[in-house]
Amino acid sequence: MVGKKGTSEHEVVTGPHAVAPEVIVSFLKTIMPFKILSDAELNNLGNHCRIDFFPKGARLMTVDETVITHLYLIQRGGVKAFLIDAKGEEVLKDYRGEGAYIGALGIIRGTRANLNIETIEDTFCFLLPREVFLDLVKNNLAFSHFYLKSFSDQVVSTAYRELRHQKVSMRPAEELYLFTITAGDLAKPVEKMSVKSRIQEVAQQMARLKIGSMLLYDPENEEDIVGIITDTDLRTKVVATGMDYHKPVENIMTMPVHSVLSEEICFEVLLKMMAIGIRHLAVEKGGRIIGVLTSHDIMVLQGSSPFYLFKEINKQRKMQGIYPIVSKVPGIIRNLIREGGKAGSISRMISLLHDQVVRRVLSLLEAEMGEPPVPYCWLLLGSEGRREQTFLTDQDNGIIYADPFSPTQKQQTEAYFQEFGTRAIQHLTKCGYPLCPGEVMSSNPRWCQPFSVWQQYFTSWANDSKPEELLDATIFFDFRAGFGDEKLAVSLRNHLIDILPGQEHFFYQLARNCLANKVPLSFFRNFIVERNGEHKNRLDVKLRGLVPIVGFARLFALKHGLKETNTIARLEALQGEGYLPMDLCTAAIKAYELQMQLRIVHQLEQIEMQQAPDNYIEPQNLTSTERAMLKDAFEVIEKLQALLERKFGIS
């Protein structure tokens, strides 16, 4: 408001050159990519904006239904993005909070909403009209770069400075898919029919080939492509209007067919699609149409959207198709970090994707080996069990199957799952997941066992185990169902909850293990780092920072019979049930998230420099804020450890 007063003493602000209220201009200045615009441009944008309010629980968008008329920018509040799966259950895709946008992809691609959006708090949004936004994307290269997940220097450097993700290096442009892969590389083979074909014939052929479009040629000359028909045409021009589908398809085709040259790079292709507002382009080489290309193909290739990768994994019908997909995960995580994702949601996203890979591999394997003789469940252990993976964590898994009825069945069952486990591990290894050095994997007969044996394992760990045995066993206590019959995992969890109360010795051992990492550390420029060895003056953020909090949360979750395995969820539950003081839990969650974030960013940086990811952070490379936050985090860990010492009488 103040800004306006400076310009004139008296004004009705309605004209095109009017000064927009401070509220919108100052907001836009804080968010990407708007902050790269000039004051004059921001002011002009501000005058086109409206403010709307959506109470908690309001639906903003519905998949495939909502026509997106505005870009929504969240000023206050938050929304969740979700889909409904085949079972009618809600599958959470994302949370978006203050400063985040909604609807950009749909506007750019000219599609309806691709996610359901619902407010999870009372939410105020700035609404920028679709046309104004598209204008910006088309006319401002830096702006379109941002939304196409490409990396104009200015955008990247501004974003990185502000978002504390400056350590994620820029990959050289020649490595980027968008700038290297050409339309010809990506084109799907031409499927074509005569324009005189009946609508129904064409639709049947498209259904048979599982394709979304069909090129149409002149019956005089098959090479003469005159039109195209897409799923959308069939829906809007035939079904919606009740048109007779015995008519020739030329009645509803779109013409002329827009095409790109096969040597054009994908970035140009996307820009062209946006400019014309279409999603299908023909690819031309030497005057001939050699294929078709959709915006979806490019988005998938680009690997920028978790959602598309998710669908890609699901679509694979062959094991070989799954192997290369896993290597796309870091690219996606990179984008999530750039967009300001928090560690908690990032590792949840990683887990979602890896879970999907496991599910796909195992269901293809079932098809390959025939139906399993008894129900089984694939157990995910350790960080996978806690949904806290970062990049390509070791495989930690096992198989639990229903106890067989007869000795013959027992033999047959053992043989089946042994083979199943061995093959599964081979496939997962080919996907890029490293083998577990401790051989905690389904291929190891010890961890591929019927329910009764798993029950005994846990009983003996709870009853009488030596500290070092227990240390090796802790990853098992974080198990969850990955695939198969979840009831087996639930029953095992219930068994564990039944036997643990009163096992004071067990909890005492766990507490001692938690305190084991309290080794003397030196203060390097006010910082706790390794004193000696290869990693001198570096901080092992996993061992020093994360393991103590994970162990603390595990101990108290088990002690109080909580079923959660995720560390943050465990701490929230402990706080919610009143087992631990609220401020301590909140501080522990914050400390945990910060260190997870540092670790993920650090590993991503290593991956991009083609190094093997590790957990050693150099304090010199941190910003002063990060250092201060990390110091706070270590104070929290000290408090957690002091509480353990007090509760369990350890000195």
Binding site: M1, K5, H10, I24, R50, I51, R76, L127
Partner: protein, 233 residues
């Protein structure tokens, strides 16, 4: 001059004519609202004068950031009163500001046939009416909605006492209410800032009320006894 003898200006006549046949049963989003706030030299209506006006338009129940209004007004008596100190408006700014004769027609044009919204709107209306009578020979008939009364109505609905309307108390001043509902907070004691703040509050209340079945203007008045009817002025 005895201003009640002054003939009504054409603007006032058209305004009163429009609102004589006003339909109160339309859905709320079909109305246009103007949220406004004034800053005064002092609260005593005999001597107090408007020194700034800020206003924000709401269409389709959304704040239109392309249509806001702000102006300072040069008071007849220039003094360092307490109020000017609160508003942080300098005497210099006021000295260069246009007079009410110039400001009022522009503001009334901005107001048009919109419904008026304000926090403790009665006070602002008292000053607006006074100046309208004096300069235009009559008052505008736009119905008013008081967000303070609405807030009390909403709070009452939440806590169960629905139709209890006691006296004004400090718990309902604009800043306190906005904070209570976790709204974004704007510069205080700035006419446009306060108008914007009130507009946020209005959107919040209307939409939170709406889930309780508030669809038309009539519903709104009944829910909060929110202000005055057209023609009641």
């Amino acid at each position: 001059m005895l201003h009640w003898l002054r003939p009504k200006s054409p603007l006032i006549k058209a305004n009163r004519n429009y609102f004589s046949g006003f339909d109160r049963k339309k859905p709320l989003k079909d109305y246009s609202f103007v949220v406004f706030d004034t800053e005064l030299t002092g609260l005593g209506s005999r001597r107090g004068e408007i020194i700034s006006i800020g206003a924000v338009r709401i269409e389709n129940l959304q704040i239109d950031l392309g249509a806001t209004y702000h102006s300072y007004v040069r008071p007849r008596r220039m003094k360092h009163t307490t109020a000017t100190l609160i508003h942080r408006i300098t005497p210099e700014e006021l000295k260069n500001a246009p007079e009410m004769e110039e400001v009022l027609p522009a503001f009334l044009e901005f107001l048009g046939n919109s419904l008026i919204v304000g926090h403790c709107i009665d006070i602002d209306m008292k000053f607006l009416d006074k100046i309208c009578r004096k300069l235009c020979g009559g008052t505008v008939a736009n119905p008013t909605i008081d967000t303070m009364r609405l807030a009390r109505g909403y709070q009452g609905k939440l806590s169960g006492w629905y139709h209890d309307h006691g006296s004004v108390d400090s718990g309902y001043n604009l800043r306190t209410v906005s904070q209570k509902f976790h709204l974004p907070v704007f510069t205080e004691h700035d006419a446009l800032g306060d108008a914007m703040q009130t507009a946020y509050l209005f959107l919040y209340l209307v939409k939170k009320f709406r889930s309780g079945g508030l669809e038309t203007l009539l519903d709104l008045y009944q829910a909060g006894k929110a202000g005055k009817w057209a023609g009641e002025v």
